[in-house]
């Protein structure tokens, strides 16, 4: 047997033949490693989960037509950051909206930066009982997938059936299963007449004007149209197409003032097929600013991308707060682990004072004894770290399933770091007691008469 072999034989004997002592040190390391690993796993899982949760509250990115493709493109009024106002442009380009190919292309750009969900909206001004309202042509599945926070009483719009906002339903006394007659006047949607009402349809998190004021403005404008040199008031015109009320949507936001119908129904009602006015995205891109810039840089696309700052800022703020909290707790756990392991190792070392004295009497140097104890401490940390990391993963998995309803995969890099940290903490914690031990006077072994 070589001296190295003897070194490890002594080490393993100390660890495995003195199990009761070793178990205490291992448990101390294990508890620390389990807690730290669990916290770290959750620290990683929480932002992902928060991102997903926050994204369920609607879009964090919207894309609207710029309107500069037309010959008489008006200035884009969306500088306020309100996506809806981008639809204020009265240009022909805007009226044609974003066509399907551009929707596909934009979506590919967004998807390239991370996971995405999207929904498109085509807005039209319509009349219900002569009163002006905004109707949105949507793909119900897309909208439903994007806006998990929408509370829908009844069902989503399908062919011949519409989803009306809570405010609309209350104003007209509509119930699920009831009918609604919707009229379309091309003049309401003529150039210069198209109002900012579409803005209100975008996520409630935005600072769009209230739909009520939009509607009032729209009403005022529409009533001032001229026909044959006279002011033509069609305010009492109640003709239109009858739809069934499939459901009533209640979001607490501007969506409550809109009537949602399937795209095909809107095409049919208006008699015009055109592109969409807004694409809303819930993007998982890590850097939304960069994504926005990359879309806006592509001027040939004739679209303008904007962040929904409320959503992204809240998301970031909550995640930062949670991560800070976790790191503080982790730091406290780390300190407690150091104290726990240090106390245990200190106790082990003090119980072995005679052995240390004997080893010195046999000719061991302080350095040799120090190395033996440090490696032994690292061994306790390693075993505790391995077991603790496994327990920590189990705990983190259980927590994620119980709280977030999602499974988390084992993070190998974090696992290795956890075990290494446990070993390092055990060694660091053992420095003071081992340093004291190496200064033991070997004469103490013989001092007892």
């Amino acid at each position: 047997m070589t001296n190295t072999g003897m070194f490890f034989r002594m080490l393993f004997s100390a660890v495995f033949r003195r199990r009761s002592r070793a178990v205490m040190a291992v448990i101390a390391s294990m508890v620390g490693a389990a807690t730290l690993f669990c916290l770290a796993m959750i620290c990683i899982a929480v932002p992902q989960q928060m991102n997903q949760e926050m994204r369920a509250y609607g879009a964090n990115l919207i894309v609207t037509p710029t309107g500069d493709s037309g010959s008489d493109a008006e200035s884009d009024t969306s500088a306020s950051g309100d996506s809806g106002s981008s639809a204020d442009g009265s240009s022909a380009a805007k009226s044609t909206g974003i066509d399907a190919a551009m929707v596909k292309h934009t979506t590919e750009m967004v998807a390239a930066k991370g996971s995405q969900k999207h929904a498109t909206y085509r807005y039209e001004n319509v009349r219900v009982n002569a009163a002006p309202y905004v109707m949105a042509g949507v793909d119900a599945a897309q909208v439903r997938n994007l806006n998990h926070h929408w509370v829908v009483d009844g069902s989503w719009p399908t062919a011949g059936k519409v989803l009306v906002g809570r405010d609309v339903a209350d104003a007209m006394g509509l119930k699920v299963g009831g009918s609604i007659t919707i009229g379309y006047r091309a003049s309401d949607n003529a150039s210069g007449q198209k109002t900012s009402s579409t803005g209100s349809s975008v996520s409630s998190s935005q600072s769009a004007e209230s739909p009520e004021s939009d509607a009032a403005s729209q009403s005022s404008q529409s009533s001032q149209q001229m026909r044959d040199g006279r002011v033509n008031s069609d305010i009492m015109d109640t003709t239109g197409t009858e739809f069934r009320v499939a459901g009533i949507v209640d979001t607490g936001g501007s969506e409550d003032s809109i009537i949602y119908a399937a795209n095909a129904d809107v095409d049919k009602l208006t008699g015009v097929k055109r592109g969409v006015d807004v694409i809303e995205y819930s993007s998982g891109a890590s850097d939304l600013n960069a994504l926005v810039a990359s879309i806006n840089d592509m001027t040939s696309m004739h679209v303008k991308a904007q962040q929904v700052t409320k959503i992204t800022a809240s998301d970031t703020r909550i995640i930062t707060m949670l991560q800070t909290l976790f790191w503080i707790v982790s730091l406290v756990v780390l300190v407690l682990t150091l104290v726990g392991v240090g106390t245990t190792i200190s106790s082990i070392v003090s119980q072995r004072r005679n052995e240390i004295g004997l080893r010195k009497a046999l000719g061991a140097s302080s350095a040799a004894i120090g190395v033996e104890f440090y490696v032994e401490s690292a061994m306790y940390g390693l075993i505790g770290g391995l077991v603790g990391t496994a327990i920590g993963y189990g705990l983190a998995s259980w927590l994620c399933v119980a709280v977030f309803e999602r499974a988390i995969a084992f993070n190998w890099a974090l696992g290795v770091a956890s075990v290494a940290l446990a070993a390092l903490v055990a060694v660091v914690a053992s420095i003071p007691p081992v340093h004291r031990a190496t200064r033991i006077d070997p004469a103490i072994v013989l001092r007892e008469e």
Partner: protein, 265 residues
């Protein structure tokens, strides 16, 4: 001379644990140090064994002054020249008998399990080589301790009450082992209360409160050989009544009894 103590004293405050002792020990001699508890025997052993340094005076081992050596060099002297046998054995509890012997090899030079097994065989413990100390009797533990002390073939074996915790049968086994080592030329210094153990030594010195108070020889041939080498009786510079201050040894009768009564009887 293998060991030379020149006016060594160990002083703790007002207490003189060892007081101005002169002693020379030639290679191959078996010396017993007797005295009552607190007489300074163990302090003297610690100084001889490089585990403590004298407050005054000089210790020479094979002509090297120990006070000139640093901690690392003293550790080297300990592992190369000295074998230690303790009353309480001090075996590492989580190592087997053979591993305890190998520990001494580990700190000395190179571990050789075969050699360690031979050392255990020499003390009659080959069959118990893989037992932990807790599985061994006191006598067996002491024999492991002796095997550990002799594994590196030291020039000097220092034994502190080696039979203090043993029954008669095991005491005899241990003394036989010391006899064998002595016959092979190993220098042995034993601290003991036991008359039988002390009488096995060639030479005995007696301490009382750190002061040398007597010396006797149990082997005349050894005495003559010692004197032929120029060896002188141990002495002390302490001016205390009953101290052996001159070049004439003061005899004493029964070490055990004297140790217990302080030499009054």
């Amino acid at each position: 001379m293998l060991l030379e103590l020149d006016h060594i004293s160990k002083i703790y405050g007002d207490l003189h644990a060892v007081d101005d002792l002169n002693l020379t020990v030639p290679a191959g001699q078996w010396l017993a140090i007797v005295g009552s508890s607190g007489s300074g025997k163990t302090t003297l052993m610690n100084m001889i064994g490089c585990m403590d340094s004298p407050s005054k005076g000089s210790v020479k081992l094979e002509g090297r002054k120990l006070e000139d050596l640093n901690a690392s060099q003293l550790a080297d002297v300990r592992k190369n020249m000295i074998g230690l046998v303790f009353q309480k054995f001090y075996l590492v509890p989580h190592l087997t008998a053979v591993e305890n012997v190998m520990v001494a090899q580990y700190y000395h030079s190179v571990v050789d399990e075969g050699q360690a097994m031979k050392a255990l065989e020499r003390v009659g413990l080959k069959e118990r080589a893989h037992h932990l100390p807790s599985q061994l009797s006191g006598g067996e533990q002491q024999r492991v301790c002796i095997a550990r002390a002799l594994i590196n073939e030291p020039k000097l074996i220092l034994a502190d009450e080696p039979t203090g915790n043993l029954d008669e049968r095991n005491e005899k086994i241990v003394l036989d082992l010391f006899r064998q080592l002595h016959e092979q030329g190993t220098t042995i210094i034993v601290v003991t209360h036991d008359a039988l153990v002390a009488s096995c030594a060639q030479r005995e010195i007696m301490l009382n409160h750190g002061v040398l108070v007597g010396e006797k020889w149990n082997d005349d041939a050894a005495r003559e050989a010692y004197e032929a080498q120029g060896g002188k009786p141990a002495s002390t510079g302490a001016q205390v009544e009953g101290a052996q201050t001159g070049e004439t040894a003061i005899g004493f009768a029964d070490p055990t009894k004297a140790a217990k009564t302080g030499g009054e009887d």
